[in-house]
């Protein structure tokens, strides 16, 4: 005799709290968050150094979290799908270096503007020219749809946990303080 599916368990299953998305979409949406921060930074004049600094700090947090979720979850899973992972990983280093340069620049100076412009270009290069235009379409063609959705869940969950992590926030604050303290 065939067993009937247990209807009860299905009902008991909690509905997913977040909308299920492909991993690539989760990442593109987070790219938009980063772009928005840069746009707001570009719109903030030199006369508002406090706001510039706060936005740069927020960019620091978000970009680091973006790198973390890609490096911990997305890139290792995609290594067998595309050979472009190694280069994308290296581009993170360029973003981290530029982020450090931006944080070390005084928001009242022209140097901050220069570093911000390079930050904008470096982010566009990684997020748009590399990932959104080349790597993600390739992944969406060749990777398993189920896997992408499952990865998307993991990325969203991890991002949520990182955002509410007080430890990570403290580490970032400490890093920024050290970078600013040693700036010349």
């Amino acid at each position: 005799m065939r067993r009937r599916p247990q209807a009860l368990t299905e009902v008991r299953e909690a509905p997913p709290r977040q909308e299920r998305k492909r991993a690539t979409r989760v990442l593109v949406e987070h790219h938009e968050v980063l772009r928005g921060l840069i746009r707001r930074l570009l719109e903030t004049p030199r006369s508002e150094p406090g706001r510039r600094r706060a936005l740069a700090d927020e960019l620091f947090d978000e970009l680091r979290m973006h790198e973390l979720i890609e490096e911990e979850i997305f890139y290792p899973a995609m290594r067998d799908v595309t050979p472009a992972v190694g280069a994308a990983w290296s581009e993170h280093r360029q973003l981290s270096d530029q982020l450090a340069a931006l944080v070390r620049a005084d928001p009242r100076t022209g140097r901050f503007d220069r570093e911000l412009r390079v930050m904008h270009d470096a982010l566009e290069s990684h997020a748009h020219l590399d990932e959104e235009r080349q790597m993600f379409p390739e992944i969406e063609r060749f990777a398993d749809e189920e896997q992408l959705i499952e990865l998307g869940d993991r990325l969203q969950a991890r991002l949520g946990r990182l955002r509410s992590s007080r430890r990570l926030r403290t580490v970032h604050r400490l890093q920024r303080a050290l970078l600013r303290r040693t700036a010349r």
Binding site: G86, W89, S90, Q94, A101, S125, L129, Q175, R184
Partner: protein
């Protein structure tokens, strides 16, 4: 047989993804330290990569420990205790310098080369530990222990050296990766001049060659669209103070000459001569300085008539 066994060994190292996590952790630590010390945007960056030398500095320095420790081996055999200790010490100093430059180069590698680099560095660290202990024991008069440690360290540094050679000859790390092509030898139209807007990078084809065009300082610059370090697409990079930056590892190149300013690339990007004819931008390969006498056919060909 030996060749096949070594090949299998290298394949095993290259395919071992377990090396990635510690590798990236190490790189993040290095990145933070370099940013704190101001190495990333400073002069030390290019110095450590060997930009001033025209090729990587690290392989030059590795001769110091290998040479000194080979000398120590011979001096141990001939029983010259003090000289042997001095040779071990010189090797240690060289090994530290090689470690700094090696880490500096390694952090800008990918995938397989990165993993081989991890094992290369681990073996060399082990060798440094053995020779360090050897030096210390010799100083305290325990020459037998010192010799034994050196004897153990020697095959380790040889194995490390072998993997270092693999990185250069198999993975082409530190090698100038430009193809050495000669084309296009004659001016070739690539883009309508009005389509080249200022401060943006344009990727065009000149025959079989991928070229990046940019207008800066009232001039049109044309460079090959591949970084000499690992072949990164320069057209996806960005501009800063008259230089173009490779998006992969941040090497900056002077637009005018293609010279590397900071590394990891130590070789220049090949440049093209440009001119505008009938509203079209034309490029041709900038020839290497020639030893032909003035007035010869080759020199005549190379003169640009704008």
């Amino acid at each position: 047989m030996a060749q096949r066994a070594l090949d299998r060994l290298l394949n095993a190292i290259e395919g071992d993804a377990r090396l990635d996590r510690p590798g990236h952790r190490l790189e993040q630590g290095l990145a933070f330290a370099e940013n704190l010390l101001g190495v990333t945007g400073g002069r030390a960056r290019g110095f450590l990569h060997g930009v001033w030398l025209g090729h990587p500095l690290h392989p030059v320095l590795t001769d110091l420990p290998i040479g000194s420790w080979t000398t120590a081996l011979v001096l141990d055999l001939t029983g010259q205790k003090r000289a042997a200790r001095a040779a071990v010490g010189v090797g240690l100093a060289g090994a530290l310098a090689a470690a700094v430059t090696g880490l500096h180069d390694w952090q800008h590698t990918h995938d397989n080369a990165r993993r081989v680099g991890m094992v290369h560095g681990t073996l060399n660290t082990l060798a440094v530990a053995l020779y360090g202990w050897s030096w210390w024991q010799r100083g305290r008069g325990h020459h037998l222990r010192g010799r034994l440690a050196a004897l153990l360290g020697y095959p380790v540094i040889m194995a490390g050296g072998f993997l270092g050679g693999t990185l250069v000859h198999r993975h082409r790390i530190g090698v100038d990766q430009t193809g050495g092509q000669l084309d296009p030898r004659h001016f070739t139209p690539v883009l309508a001049e009005r389509d080249l807007t200022g401060d943006r990078l344009h990727r065009v084809r000149a025959g079989d060659v991928d070229v990046v065009l940019v207008r800066a300082d009232g001039r049109i610059h044309a460079l090959e669209n591949a970084c000499p370090h690992l072949g990164g697409p320069l057209s996806q990079g960005w501009l800063r103070d008259g230089s173009i930056t490779c998006p992969w590892h941040g090497s900056q190149f002077e637009l005018r000459s293609g010279e590397s300013l900071n590394g990891p690339a130590t070789a220049p990007v090949p440049c093209f001569q440009t001119r505008v004819r009938d509203g079209w931008i034309e490029v041709r390969r900038a020839p290497k300085p020639t030893s032909s006498p003035p007035g010869s056919a080759l020199v005549h060909q190379q003169e640009v008539r704008p």
